[in-house]
């Protein structure tokens, strides 16, 4: 894709990358409530669509939010996922998994005053129980809003690089 838009300047770019680092630190420390309250905007659409494996000649359109999707959450729905993790009754997270995130290839563009479209690559490494290891890579397309209390994401599209997910579930936040 040829990008005619100009990326944001160095200072903004740095602020966005720092924001992502802080976000990841909260997730890695299981501070889900803090994560949700700090980075999620109330008009969030948190979406992980399902891309079928199709022939190149296939003219059917890409998935929309009306189609099957692994995540398709609004604010309240995402909040419920956080609440579930904090009930103390999610046995599979007790003892907790170890999760590590690597966010790279950050590209940010201004799309409106104080609003940015940001592309990034995310690698997630999960280690569970004694020997379970899962590695996922995802392409992430964010829309961020710069507010008085920092950046808030109001649209997050996650493209997981797998037709068959190589994990028992994807119940973690990216």
């Amino acid at each position: 894709m040829t990008e005619t838009r100009k990326p944001v300047g160095m200072e903004l770019h740095h602020a966005i990358v720092s924001h992502y680092s802080a976000e990841v630190r909260m997730l890695q420390n299981q501070q889900y409530r803090e994560w949700f309250d700090t980075v999620i905007a109330e008009d969030i659409h948190y979406w992980m669509p399902v891309y079928e494996q199709r022939y190149a000649r296939d003219r059917r359109p890409d998935p929309t939010p009306g189609d099957a999707a692994i995540y398709n959450d609004d604010y309240a729905e995402l909040q419920q996922r956080v609440d579930r993790l904090l009930t103390g009754q999610v046995w599979m997270e007790d003892p907790p998994s170890r999760i590590r995130y690597f966010v790279t290839n950050v590209e940010a563009f201004e799309i409106a005053p104080f609003e940015f479209e940001v592309f990034s690559n995310v690698l997630v490494h999960r280690n569970r129980r004694q020997n379970e290891v899962y590695v996922h890579t995802l392409g992430r397309e964010d829309k961020l809003r710069k507010t008085d209390s920092g950046f808030k994401v109001f649209s997050r599209k996650l493209n997981i690089d797998a037709r068959v997910v190589q994990d028992k579930n994807l119940y973690f936040f990216v």
């Binding site: 022939y55 296939d58 419920q80 579930r84 009930t87 997910v165 028992k168 579930n169």
Partner: protein
């Protein structure tokens, strides 16, 4: 392995742990169950038009399901008859022909070999193309659900579903046109034996309150009281459990069809508006089923939750792994908005990142992998719950257990599993048609219970 009595004890209601682990048991399952039973391969709604196809699996065999120009269906093995290459690598699509990537042999929509590159120069009229079509599979449908079978001696699909049709009609035929499946399927791998999720869906009402304690607490609604097993509920009056001749079965939670859905106004309205039609068409006993929640397995490896409306195929990948495919069932005649919201809620709870699904996968994996220990594997598992509180029922076909929290349909599932492993052919299975339920000896359980109920003063 010599016979399967070493694996399943019907009277003692237990199974050897080897059923989840041993390679030779798995091989026998492939030969005697997956090669002889009807396996779920699709739905009319997934291949609506001539030329439409999907690729799927029957156990580990790759399969193409293809809609013919005359509207009929054909299924064949997705492997070239020349040197064995996989013919089609797309999940779905529309195709006039399937061309093999290796040497370019061309197969028609019906699986026949229609063209061979440079045929004259290479084969000199020596190739009998009519004998080189893709290996065909028996295909039959029931109310739009498409099944495939490799065994010409197997009964018809309708006979294979058998008594279960009486139940399935309630929802698969429904008030006015039944169900369709929404894809594309979510797909994920899970390190477990295929029978762990199959048995869980066929009859595990017991785990709901404990395994899913967190999710039920979060969702609220009718089942919140089960969360953490805290509420003191009279389970006997909350539902039933059923098992059939061919191992199919389900658990019913009364009046809880949509309990797992958070946003459910459209679906609740749809059920309310249509339940009268069900009562008229099928009677009050099945109206009860229509507004209840079902956890169901169709033997061997297809499961669904009616009400939640998630629909699963557990494709085996060796004894210790499966590929999970998740579709959503929706009423064909509901409006688009309602269908979409059902799909969202079904996936939110039982998709790859589902609020309940993620609890289950963990157990299924753990219940399988613990058996890698040789001493552990010598042990047996218990499925005795409700053993003497079940039997034939004057209204409901099959064997009926008194509560949805029971293991009636576990016992029925493994009873048939053992029968399939032991039987040399379908004739031997048919020979048991009149005696299959002999292990349920409490024949008067339901007549006694129902007349005792009737004798109670009505208020």
């Amino acid at each position: 392995m010599n016979g399967s009595s070493a694996l399943v004890d019907n009277i003692g209601a237990s199974q050897s742990r080897r059923v989840f682990w041993d390679q030779d048991v798995y091989q026998l399952e492939l030969e005697r169950i997956f090669s002889r039973c009807w396996l779920m391969i699709g739905h009319d709604s997934l291949v609506p038009k001539p030329g439409d196809f999907i690729t799927t699996y029957m156990a580990e065999d790759r399969v193409i399901l293809s809609r013919q120009p005359d509207g009929s269906l054909k299924a064949f093995i997705n492997s070239c008859t020349h040197r064995g290459n996989q013919i089609c690598h797309a999940d779905s699509g529309s195709a006039k022909a399937f061309v093999c990537n290796y040497h370019g042999w061309v197969f028609g929509q019906d699986g026949s070999l229609v063209d061979v590159p440079m045929e004259e120069r290479c084969y000199h009229s020596d190739l009998d193309k009519s004998k080189l079509g893709l290996a065909p599979i028996r295909v039959e449908t029931y109310k739009g659900f498409i099944f495939g079978c490799h065994d010409p001696e197997a009964p018809s699909l309708e006979d294979y579903l058998g008594d279960f049709c009486w139940y399935l009609d309630t929802i698969w035929d429904g008030p006015d046109g039944g169900l369709e499946l929404l894809g594309p399927p979510l797909k994920s791998t899970l390190a477990c034996n295929w029978k762990v999720p199959a048995e869980n869906f066929v009859g595990d009402g017991y785990h709901v309150g404990w395994t899913h304690a967190a999710a039920l607490q979060m969702i609220g609604g009718e089942l919140a009281g089960l969360s953490g097993n805290r509420a003191d509920m009279p389970f006997d009056d909350l539902g039933l459990q059923f098992t059939m001749r061919h191992g199919h079965g389900f658990g019913l939670i009364d009046n809880a069809a949509t309990a797992i859905h958070v946003k459910r106004d459209g679906y609740v309205k749809y059920l309310e508006e249509t339940r009268g039609g069900i009562r008229e068409k099928f009677g009050p006993e099945r109206e009860r089923l229509y507004v209840g929640h079902w956890n169901t397995s169709i033997f061997p490896n297809c499961s669904f939750l009616y009400g939640t409306n998630t629909f699963k195929i557990w494709h085996p990948r060796g004894p210790h792994e499966i590929e999970v495919w998740t579709y959503t069932m929706v009423p064909k005649n509901a409006d688009t908005e309602t269908k979409r919201s059902i799909q969202r809620e079904a996936i939110r709870s039982f998709g790859t990142a589902g609020t309940l699904e993620s609890d289950d996968g963990e157990n299924m994996s753990s219940a399988t992998y613990n058996n890698n220990g040789i001493i552990t594997r010598k042990g047996w598992m218990n499925s005795s719950m409700g053993k003497d509180r079940e039997g034939p029922h004057p209204v409901y076909p099959g064997i009926v257990g008194v509560s949805f929290i029971g293991e009636t349909s576990y016992r029925g599932f493994y009873r048939f599993w053992q029968e399939m492993l032991d039987a040399p052919d379908w004739a031997a299975i048919r020979a048991n048609d009149d005696t299959w339920d002999a292990m349920w000896t409490n024949r008067n359980f339901w007549p006694d219970r129902l007349s005792a109920k009737q004798a109670e003063p009505q208020d």
